[in-house]
Point group: C2
Chain length 405, copies 2
Amino acid sequence: PINPERLWASLAAMAEIGATAKGGSCRLALSDEDKAGRDLFVSWCVEAGCEVAIDRVGNIFARRPGSDPTLPPVVMGSHLDTQPTGGRFDGVYGVLAGLEVLRSLNDRSVATRHPVEVAVWTNEEGSRFSPPMMGSGVVTGVFALDEILDKIAQDGARLGDELIRTGYAGDAPTDHPMHAYLEAHIEQGPVLEVEEKEIGVVVGAQGQRWYEVTVTGVEAHAGPTPMRLRRDALVAAARMVTAVQELGLDTPGDACATVGILDVHPHSRNVIPGRVFFTVDLRHPDSATLAAMDRRFRDAVAAIADAAGVRAEIADFWRFPPTPFNPTLVDRVRDAARGFGFSHRDIVSGAGHDAVYVAGKVPTAMIFIPCEDGISHNEVENIAPADGARGAAVLFEVLVATAGF
Amino acid sequence: PINPERLWASLAAMAEIGATAKGGSCRLALSDEDKAGRDLFVSWCVEAGCEVAIDRVGNIFARRPGSDPTLPPVVMGSHLDTQPTGGRFDGVYGVLAGLEVLRSLNDRSVATRHPVEVAVWTNEEGSRFSPPMMGSGVVTGVFALDEILDKIAQDGARLGDELIRTGYAGDAPTDHPMHAYLEAHIEQGPVLEVEEKEIGVVVGAQGQRWYEVTVTGVEAHAGPTPMRLRRDALVAAARMVTAVQELGLDTPGDACATVGILDVHPHSRNVIPGRVFFTVDLRHPDSATLAAMDRRFRDAVAAIADAAGVRAEIADFWRFPPTPFNPTLVDRVRDAARGFGFSHRDIVSGAGHDAVYVAGKVPTAMIFIPCEDGISHNEVENIAPADGARGAAVLFEVLVATAGF
Ligand SMILES: NC(=O)NCCC(=O)O
Ligand SMILES: NC(=O)NCCC(=O)O
């Protein structure tokens, strides 16, 4: 029902913005590149006859009217921002699959009852500004708008200022009404590829808990300070990184545990580090197990700090519980895949997505497609064009079934 | 023989330049603060009637003439640059004890046969620019001048440009003639304090080997990437940091092993690190043991990389062998301490000092004084004024004995 070549060409055109040496994309949230990507998307939506609204946190909603103007829209979407060494499909695929569905509705002059929208959510990645999923979090009331506008980037910029600078400080209210939300996305993991499934029917997302840990030891000279008298913050932090990995390995049932950022102070070759800051990301599909991981993590950090004679402080940074999607919509995704004869399986999302926050407010579902070697958050991230087309076809079917005609 | 109050007042005045919140000093090599510290020193030397020469790598030599103008000078000195969170005595003490000896020669109108100089060596710390001991390394032919002028700081500045900017790109040749070199310094470790000795008779310095390690894994998403499929560069690097510490702990005889810098790439909370850079500093007083540490370090890194499925490259960054000082001068230090009735012991320097490079060229000795809790490279670094006075008195005696009168 969609045009695979047009979808692929749009993905390729978007990938030229912020293209990186190894074939990936770098469009950090609200950077110049992110602005250029947004501008391109908006120009395509205007060409497709959409009305484009920007809300106060910079989310973009491109609307195709429905036959009943009193009804709230069925929204498709995802994000255009990327990781520092990001791929061309993470987020982008969901946005452009949504645009492709909308363009196909135009091609076939389908009149839906509900309006249909494609959304671009602000800062889904949570890399330049953290935490992730900010735009969808504000719209669903998880975050206060003012708190988000005041967030400071790794590079020191303020989010509200960057919205103004890039021209995406809109005036639409952030309590955007939605009838339902559908997000297509690459799996970002290896399951579909390994099991040779074409579509992932996403039944929900695993829960996440993010932390910030600060380890404080005693700065001292790397030479005349005997090993046994040291209170080396990095030596302690290294053991904590190992403990975090072991926690992920030992916990049954798809646990994940990652340290993504680690900063050493005073950052001098011949000074025993006096302070280390690092971030921790724990994930599990089961609430009770995630809580147990939290306890074991805290215990491990405390025990290591004790043994090393350093102080460790853990701050809760961000979290969301395991989140099921809407059963009716999930069934529609499964039925559409089956209808097309696409091989498929139910799957739990290992990543957070804007759909997780939106699911707390309106019926929501996600469609996964495989990605090469299961690799994402990497410049070499890739998909097969046929998989991209299949996901967009399923999205088309579920959209039409949900928007009514 | 010296004026303890004047020495203490000079140390206090210098500590006001680049003073830090916790009572330390931050005068990174060739920063604005380092320039201000150098300017103050030069003004004191001019007041004391010295001729001041600056060489092409920014070393300062303040000269008090001797009675025989054909003889090369006996040089006292150390450095004024500090670590990012440095103390008020590391380096500074040796420079200002030298100045105090020179002022005392003036007070007593002592005419020495050899000229007497106080030297300030450029970038001893090796923090902003690395490796350490650059100024003394150029003067003794360890480093080529051009190579050093091209060194790039952690903040991106070029050393040669910073010399010009701060007004310390002098025109004196760098092959400065010296008859002998004497450096007073705080111990920077706990031995003298624990053993209640007032003077450390430094018989030599332990050897050092510095490395840069780059670990390359595969960036991937912190959520949907199963733990067992990861090639996490930070998880591997953390085990290497632990191995470096164990190497230091297990090697007999005052081994030191430190990781001072560790940088994570791409530095995003939800990306499995694809690359980690870290520095390693290994030290031992015995050559063969240091070589054995080198081998064990390389083996450990290779084994950990192998097990973690990552690549690790080790680059040799800097090194010097265990370095004995001149026996005649060492005896003079011991004799002077004994003459004053100061408690003393022979000691091996755990740190590198400009004296290590100078020892390769002319007869050299060092005098250590205790520092509080053995702490250095830390803002809380401290000494007792009486210890400062004792070290300067010993320096005076050895200087006069060596410069002749
Ligand atoms: N899809 C994605 O990368 N989302 C960011 C939040 C997360 O790390 O799960
Ligand atoms: N004294 C001192 O801190 N020297 C720098 C070289 C070293 O780290 O040993």
